[in-house]
Structures are given as structure tokens and as C-alpha cells.
């Protein structure tokens, strides 16, 4: 039990570092950095918990994690006067299905280089499977994260408004 908890928490901590590192490439505002770290941590924690502890599929885990990240983006966005997208886009980056994409490309290459039709069929099947996984995960991440923005439209549209200005 302890080892699973350690495994899940350590992965979530690394995910925060990944979100910050990749996020810095897109020049996020300094005031939002803690929000990016927190959102990535929470999202990845939920994803790892659903997959490693509950044994759920990668799709449902990614969708729920992205949904949580979208909500966290709204809450922390309100606190930092930052649009939710600025917070949750970098936070989603650790969940990019890189291994599936790589395996799809590798299967495609092997399919192209092979001359035996029976083997070609196996590699084509692999290519299609991995590609479907990669695209499916990307769709789950994108949809999950933007749903809170459409549900709480009014809040999402006024996150950058400062009370200080309203009172003037």
C-alpha cells in the first residue's frame, strides 16, 4: 500500500516539474507559476490513482484528470487574475501520450520496410492501435479541460478582472 502511495505521489511531483519546465517555453506570468505546479500535481495525482490504484482505463483517467485541471484552472485563475487556459495548458503537458505516438511511428516504419504481407498486417494493426490510443488520449485531455470553461462561462470570462479596479 505504502509503495503505491509513494509511486503515485512521486509521479505527481515529477509531473509538476514537467509542467513547469515545458510551460516556461510558452512564457507564463510569474504569478501563475504556483498555480501551474498545483494544477499539474492534482491532475496527475488523480490520473495515477485512477490507473494504478483503481485499474481504470487511460482514457477515463485522462478525461477525469483533465476535468479536474480545468476546474483547478478556474479556481487558481481567480486567485491569480489569470485566464484558466494559461494555467491548465502547461499542466496538461505531462499527460501527452508520447510513448503511444512513438510506437505508432515505429510500427508505421516497420510496416513500410516489411515485404511480407502477413507481417505487414501485424504492423499495420499495431500502427492503427497505437495511433488510436494517442489521438483518443489527446481528445480526452482537450475536451476534459475545456468543459469547465463552457459550464462556468461567466466565471471563466472574468478571471482577469481585479477587485481593486472595480472599486475605483
Amino acid at each position: 500500500m505504502e509503495s503505491i502511495v509513494f509511486h503515485i505521489v512521486s509521479k505527481a511531483l515529477f509531473a509538476s516539474v514537467v509542467a513547469l519546465g515545458f510551460g516556461l517555453i510558452s512564457n507564463p506570468p510569474r504569478r501563475a507559476i504556483w498555480a501551474i505546479l498545483l494544477t499539474a500535481f492534482l491532475g496527475y495525482l488523480l490520473r495515477a490513482f485512477m490507473m494504478d490504484a483503481l485499474g481504470l482505463s487511460v482514457f477515463s483517467a485522462c478525461f477525469c484528470a483533465a476535468l479536474l485541471m480545468g476546474c483547478s484552472g478556474l479556481v487558481t485563475g481567480k486567485l491569480t487574475h489569470t485566464p484558466a487556459t494559461v494555467i491548465y495548458i502547461p499542466s496538461l503537458l505531462p499527460m501527452i501520450p508520447g510513448m503511444y505516438a512513438y510506437k505508432a511511428i515505429f510500427a508505421y516504419l516497420t510496416f513500410m520496410q516489411n515485404i511480407d504481407f502477413a507481417e505487414k498486417a501485424v504492423y499495420f494493426d499495431q500502427f492503427f492501435t497505437y495511433l488510436s490510443y494517442a489521438v483518443g488520449i489527446l481528445i480526452c485531455l482537450a475536451l476534459g479541460s475545456i468543459i469547465p470553461m463552457f459550464v462556468f462561462t461567466k466565471t471563466a470570462n472574468s478571471l482577469t478582472r481585479s477587485k481593486h479596479c472595480v472599486n475605483q
Binding site: 514537467v18 519546465g21 516556461l24 496538461l92 482537450a142 482577469t160 481585479s162
Partner: protein
């Protein structure tokens, strides 16, 4: 009116170049125009965009401008700060000169130091390799490959090489360096190569394109999605080339 119109055209162009999704750009710019008593109509696109600022009391009194969007790196900071500025203008009704001064201060804010970003991106790739269950060797290889390829990407971008070609070359370099893991063992090389190019994935453009399309800004949304897909294809081609080369050599 002309001065405000020109300023708003620049404001919208900077927001488009920064990767902000269209409904936010439209809302923010219209909010500023309304604060000064005008209506604003926008026609958004990725390369050029046009704005028309109208006096609601006298429709014949209007200002129209077609402005080019200068390509610039994605900036979430501009997205957040320019949106915040629109609320500030709306709530305080500051003079146009103050709005201009604040706008210029935001767009002149320096980005994070290049080497700090390169190191953090490398550390992020290192962490991502851990998430993909990579060995310590794979993690170190990915750190080095990201650091070198990130600097190569900046150099090529400064030399104004075509963006898709820059991505292809960067992905090729990153995955070739990561392929050195093949001298240790195959799983190490696989994880290292798969992780080495992921910092090039255009996440902001993908999400902005999707939000635009879902919110009805279909033309600019599709332009963004096509750009992101082209970017990803360049990345995949670089990776494919590297895998082919390594298979040929090893």
C-alpha cells in the same frame, strides 16, 4: 478615434500572435472599445486581421484598419496581462495615453532568460522520461538531447529558417542524440527517443484551435489546428528520419 483604432489593431495582433483564443481576444478588445464609447467589429485571421471602430451615435464616423500579424513566440504572459488590462480600462476608464503606456509596458516585458528556459525544459524532459518509466541513463540522455536541440532550435529561429524545417531538424537532432541509448539497451533507447521530442508538441496552438472551433470561430480555429498538425507532422518526420538512420547504422 484613429489613434485608439490603431492601438486596438496592435492590441489584437499581439494577442493573436501570443496564441490567445479568439473569443477572449474579441471580448477583451470590445471591452476596451466600449470603455471609450465605441463599438468594435473584428475579422480575425492568423496572418492579417481587420478591425473597424464605430461611433454608435454616428455610424458614418468609423475607423478601419487591416493589420499584419507578426509571427512571435507563444506568450501566455501577454495573454493574461493584456486581458487583465482590458478589465482595467473598462473599470477605471483611464485615458487612451495611459492605456497605450500600459500596453507598451506589457509587450516590452522581457521573456524568461533563454538559458534558464533551456535548463528547465531539459529538466522537464528528464521528469517526463521518469513518468514513462525510463531508466536513469534514458533520463540523462533526454536531458542532454533536449538542452542541445533547444539551443539549436533558437539558433535556427534567429536565422529565420522556415518554422516547419526548424521543427524537423530539432526533432531529428533530439532523437538522434537520444538514440545513443541503443548502445546501452533497447528499452532505454525507446523511452529516450519517445520523450526527447515531446517538448516540441504545440499544446497551446492545439487547445486554442479547438476552443476557437467549438466557440464558432471556425476559420481561425481550423487555421490554428492545421498549423498544429503541420507542426506535429514535421516533428514526426524528424523522429521517423532519426529512427531510420539509427536502424541503418546500428
Amino acid at each position: 478615434m484613429k489613434h485608439l483604432g490603431h492601438l486596438l489593431a496592435k492590441y489584437v495582433a499581439v494577442m493573436v500572435a501570443s496564441g490567445t483564443h479568439s473569443s477572449r481576444i474579441s471580448r477583451s478588445a470590445k471591452r476596451i472599445a466600449q470603455a471609450y464609447g465605441y463599438d468594435l467589429r473584428l475579422d480575425l485571421a492568423l496572418k492579417n486581421l481587420s478591425i473597424m471602430l464605430c461611433d454608435p451615435a454616428d455610424p458614418s464616423n468609423h475607423y478601419h484598419e487591416l493589420i499584419a500579424v507578426h509571427p512571435a513566440p507563444i506568450s501566455l504572459s501577454n495573454n493574461a496581462d493584456l486581458s487583465r488590462l482590458s478589465w482595467e480600462v473598462h473599470d477605471t476608464k483611464m485615458p487612451v495615453e495611459d492605456f497605450e503606456a500600459k500596453f507598451n509596458a506589457i509587450i516590452r516585458t522581457p521573456r524568461y532568460k533563454h538559458q534558464a528556459v533551456a535548463l528547465m525544459a531539459s529538466l522537464a524532459s528528464f521528469g517526463l522520461c521518469y513518468l514513462f518509466n525510463g531508466t536513469i541513463w534514458a533520463m540523462l540522455l533526454v536531458f542532454i538531447s533536449t538542452y542541445i536541440s533547444f539551443n539549436l532550435k533558437s539558433y535556427l529561429t534567429q536565422k529565420q529558417v522556415n518554422n516547419h524545417f526548424v521543427i524537423l531538424l530539432t526533432a531529428l537532432t533530439a532523437s538522434l542524440i537520444a538514440s545513443c541509448g541503443a548502445f546501452i539497451d533497447t528499452p532505454t533507447a525507446e523511452v529516450a527517443v519517445a520523450t526527447s521530442v515531446l517538448y516540441l508538441v504545440p499544446g497551446v496552438v492545439f487547445i486554442s484551435g479547438l476552443i476557437d472551433t467549438l466557440e464558432g470561430f471556425v476559420i481561425i480555429g481550423f487555421s490554428r489546428l492545421v498549423n498544429a498538425v503541420m507542426h506535429t507532422i514535421s516533428l514526426a518526420l524528424g523522429l521517423l528520419l532519426a529512427i531510420t538512420l539509427v536502424h541503418f547504422l546500428v
